[in-house]
């Protein structure tokens, strides 16, 4: 008994040392206005404080303001934020001026992180820049197509394999009552609101038409000349698809962001939708969803024709033009956004940096993340290998075995695709996408521009930014993100 008490005291003393490590440390972490993403950070910060003594204040700003809030804060040496949870595609703008802490050594020394369990894409692309680790992934992001299994089955339809299938299905079921409320519902719901997430949606569509030779081919620019790939027959076909989906969408689809389309889908009002992994987990929430176990997910639909970059025209898929095609269909799953990730402000106090890193590590560790990725409201989607393999995890969370296999299978298929489209991660990518692309697409949807005008506007706008920032620098950065060696 005496020996047990001594051991207990020793253990307490050791724990006390651990507790005291961050006692009195307070840090501020910024992310976007939730509830997604901010919710798990805010929910888990008191637990982390109880464990380590470090207090994490999680503050939020609107998504459209997040990029510049972080950049202006660090660039002006205000440093009101010690940690950031943001889109990893923006990291280049923060790393080059030296605003982010290099986390490579910390990650190497952190056995609790189980770094090798994090899927390679998130380790090597979302977290790493020029061989060094700068962010800790908290979320895994791929866009997929969700469909209502019951609605498609009733109509004798299969899940869409191509974008033509998507349009045909949307047209076939549009106007049917899909949730039993006596009201006609919609064939397709896609978030098309400006200044929100719509530019990722259109990229999900154009990927299959433009990229067919593998990830390193790139879907935004020609890797030889940095010429934008937005003024050709393939891009025009993608715009045709995008415009056609609007015919079968809600009347105010142009004003819907992903929060709205997710709400519509889980309330049973949509047959199809494009989204990240969130609909899969939101659909199993009994408090908000009427489509539990009626939701299927597939890799983004593809195309049987792809861009010939020499002529700018579409050509049929064959062994040469589409080497990764499945059943003659070229799929190009889009790793849109890259998954919310945590980074540490290089200008923070050393102890605060340690505390912020420890918090991100804590959020990433399987004990926490395995639960969070199964809860829809968190906005976190699976990114660990074990999360894809651990079926009971998802069944316990409320998915049927079939739904879990289907959901995880779609993500895994995207993740393992050799023709995955990487999101743009060159300097000032936010201007290319959130300003030029987003504005032109919203003008096209509103009828303010024709397809030709929209394509030309994106082309001119992207060229102008490239010229402004330096063609060689941008080309080099683009090749580097795609792993192209010259």
């Amino acid at each position: 008994m005496k020996r047990f008490i001594i051991l207990l005291l020793l253990a307490s003393a050791m724990l006390g040392v651990a507790f005291a490590q961050f006692e009195g440390v307070e840090a501020t972490i910024v992310t976007f206005t939730g509830p997604q993403i901010a919710e798990p950070l805010q929910r888990r910060s008191p637990d982390f404080e109880a464990l380590t003594g470090a207090k994490m204040n999680v503050v939020t700003v609107p998504f459209s303001d997040l990029y510049q809030q972080i950049l202006t804060d660090v660039a002006t040496n205000t440093n009101s934020f010690d940690g950031f949870v943001f889109a990893p595609q923006w990291m280049v703008d923060y790393i080059v001026p030296g605003f982010l802490e290099d986390l490579t050594d910390r990650v190497a020394a952190d056995s609790d992180l189980l770094w090798q369990d994090v899927a390679p894409f998130f380790r090597d692309f979302s977290s790493t820049f020029e061989g060094q680790i700068y962010t800790i992934p908290l979320d895994g992001d791929f866009q997929m197509v969700y469909y209502r299994t019951d609605v498609l089955e009733e109509n004798g339809l299969e899940a869409p394999a191509t974008w033509d299938d998507y349009i045909n299905i949307a047209g076939s079921v549009d106007g049917q009552d899909m949730n039993g409320d006596g009201e006609p519902d919609f064939g397709s719901c896609i978030a098309k609101k400006r200044n929100a997430q719509s530019y990722w949606m259109i990229t999900s569509v154009w990927g299959a038409f433009i990229q067919s030779q593998g990830t390193s081919q790139g879907a935004f620019f020609n890797t030889d000349t940095m010429e934008p790939l937005v003024n050709n027959a393939a891009f025009e076909s993608a715009l045709d698809v995008y415009l056609a989906t609007t015919e079968f969408g809600p009347p105010d689809e142009l004003n819907l962001d992903v929060g709205d389309t997710r709400g519509l889908f889980t309330s049973g009002r949509c047959a199809l939708s494009i989204d990240w992994g969130d609909i899969g987990t939101l659909a199993i929430d009994p408090t908000t969803s009427v489509v539990q176990n009626k939701v299927g997910a597939v890799i983004l639909p593809g195309s049987t024709q792809v861009l010939d970059r020499d002529t700018g025209e579409l050509v049929d898929c064959d062994a040469n033009t589409c080497p990764f095609a499945v059943n003659g269909v070229n799929h190009a799953p889009f790793a849109a956004f890259g998954g919310w990730s945590g980074a540490v402000n290089a200008a923070a106090d050393p102890l605060v940096k340690d505390a912020v890193y420890a918090f991100f590590s804590y959020m990433n560790q399987p004990a926490q993340s395995n639960i969070d990725v199964t809860i829809g409201i968190t906005g976190f989607n699976p990114y660990r290998v074990s999360q894809f393999e651990n079926l009971p995890l998802w069944i316990t969370a409320g998915m049927s075995r079939e739904a879990a296999l289907n959901y995880l299978g779609a993500i895994r298929e995207s993740l393992n695709s050799p023709n995955m489209v990487l999101d743009l991660r060159i300097p000032q990518n936010q201007r290319y996408q959130q300003i030029v692309l987003d504005t032109a697409i919203s003008q096209l949807l509103a009828g303010e521009l024709t397809k030709e005008e929209a394509m030309q506007q994106i082309y001119d706008g992207w060229q102008e930014i490239t010229d402004e920032l330096g063609l060689e620098d941008q080309l080099s950065a683009y090749r580097s993100t795609l792993g192209v060696q010259r």
């Binding site: 303001d65 030296g98 200044n195 009347p251 105010d252 004003n255 201007r431 959130q434 509103a446 001119d460």
Partner: protein
């Protein structure tokens, strides 16, 4: 106060000379302060204004001619000349800023001809007025009228078939159409509440309420009202068969939604000022008109309205300056969409700033300043002076 009470002129030697020099200096300083007391008292205010207003004004002018990049420990400013302005007028932002020009229809031509004829008539009246006509006045009017004619041509081109208004034209629409409606409604309500109606005091208070509400609150309210699917007046839309129609997804529907919100908020301002002006009009004029057997319309047209012109011109000018800066309603209600259909110049500048293109954002802000300054000064010179006469 003389030192030691000793009579003046009794000091001798170096002490006396030093005292005289010291007194002379004090007197000179005192005299200088007496002469420049006004400037001295104004100096702190001037410095504060210089620091808070003129300095940022000049810095933002320089920013509009620069490109800014964030680098370690701060930012790097590169002078690019007029490149940011060229981008708006001729470059990739031209469609966004100026819009797209359509084909002139017969109606467009008629409107333009009538507008130019009216300006010509105003110039002819000035030349024939016999007031102090000066060469500078004539040149000023010719330049102003030419720019106004060009402005009308630009507006009509973007509003014609095949055209699309850019953020500049959209701002003009908010300013002129919105203020026109606000004035007419405000005047109507003011005239109504000066009548001996039951509950007119209650209505005076009620009509004022929208002005007290924060614009963001109004924007959210209208966002709910225009949502035909889930909004609180959804049953009415359903009854009208419009439940599946979204009027904020069509460019003109969205612009009207914003203008209705703006009109709803700012009509009370017109109302309260015009009400005070109407109540201050001398009773004798109306009594004399009644005695002479004038009809209600004749009284309004020949007595009330001319008496209200000075106040009306001022209140419209105040609203105009404010309306050029409209940002909250289009930002919250439609986020500038659909497309860029409801984006005002201020919102355009804000979105550009948010992308950290600070030079581009400053250039848009300066274009707004130039336009609103020109319209404001022209309006004040041509109408306000006339109204005061």
């Amino acid at each position: 106060m003389r030192s030691g009470g000793r009579p003046e002129g009794t000091l001798q030697g170096p002490d006396a000379s030093q005292t005289r020099r010291s007194r002379s200096l004090r007197e000179r300083i005192g005299s200088w302060f007496d002469r420049n007391a006004g400037n001295v008292f104004l100096l702190p205010t001037f410095l504060i204004v210089l620091l808070l207003s003129i300095f940022p004004f000049l810095v933002s002018a320089y920013l509009s001619l620069s490109r800014i990049r964030f680098v370690r420990g701060g930012f790097e400013i590169t002078f690019v000349g007029l490149r940011n302005y060229r981008k708006l007028i001729k470059g990739s932002e031209k469609r966004h800023f100026l819009g797209v020009f359509g084909d002139f229809s017969l109606i467009s031509w008629l409107i333009l001809i009538v507008f130019v004829a009216l300006l010509g008539y105003a110039l002819w009246r000035y030349l024939r007025s016999g007031h102090r006509i000066s060469a500078a006045g004539v040149i000023y009017r010719i330049i102003t009228f030419s720019i106004l004619s060009y402005g009308m041509w630009y507006l009509l081109k973007t509003l014609s078939s095949g055209g699309r208004p850019g953020t500049l034209a959209v701002t003009f629409i908010y300013v002129f159409l919105g203020i026109g409606c606000q004035y007419l409604l405000g005047l109507g309500l003011a005239l109504l509440t000066t009548q001996r109606l039951v509950g007119r005091r209650f209505f005076r208070v009620v009509f004022l309420l929208p002005m007290m509400i924060t614009p963001v609150g109004i924007a959210y309210t209208f966002r709910m009202l225009t949502d035909t699917d889930k909004g609180p007046i959804n049953p009415i839309w359903k009854l009208l068969g419009l439940a599946e129609v979204s009027w904020v997804t069509s460019p003109w529907g969205a612009r009207w939604a914003i203008m209705i919100g703006d009109i709803w908020q700012w009509t009370p301002f017109m109302f309260i000022v015009l009400l005070a002006a109407i109540e201050g009009l001398p009773e004798e004029l109306f009594e004399a008109a009644h005695v002479d057997g004038a009809s209600r319309w004749q009284i309004f047209w020949n007595i009330t309205l001319p008496q209200l012109v000075p106040v009306s011109v001022t209140v419209v000018l105040i609203r105009m300056i404010e309306a050029f800066k409209i940002v909250d309603l289009p930002n919250v209600l439609t986020n500038g969409g659909p497309g860029t259909a409801t984006e005002s110049l201020t919102l355009h500048s804000f979105f550009t700033w948010r992308a950290l293109d600070l030079g581009g954002s400053a250039a848009i802000a300066y274009m707004l300043l130039i336009v609103s300054l020109f319209v404001g000064i022209s309006y004040a010179n041509l109408l306000q002076q006339r109204a005061q006469r």
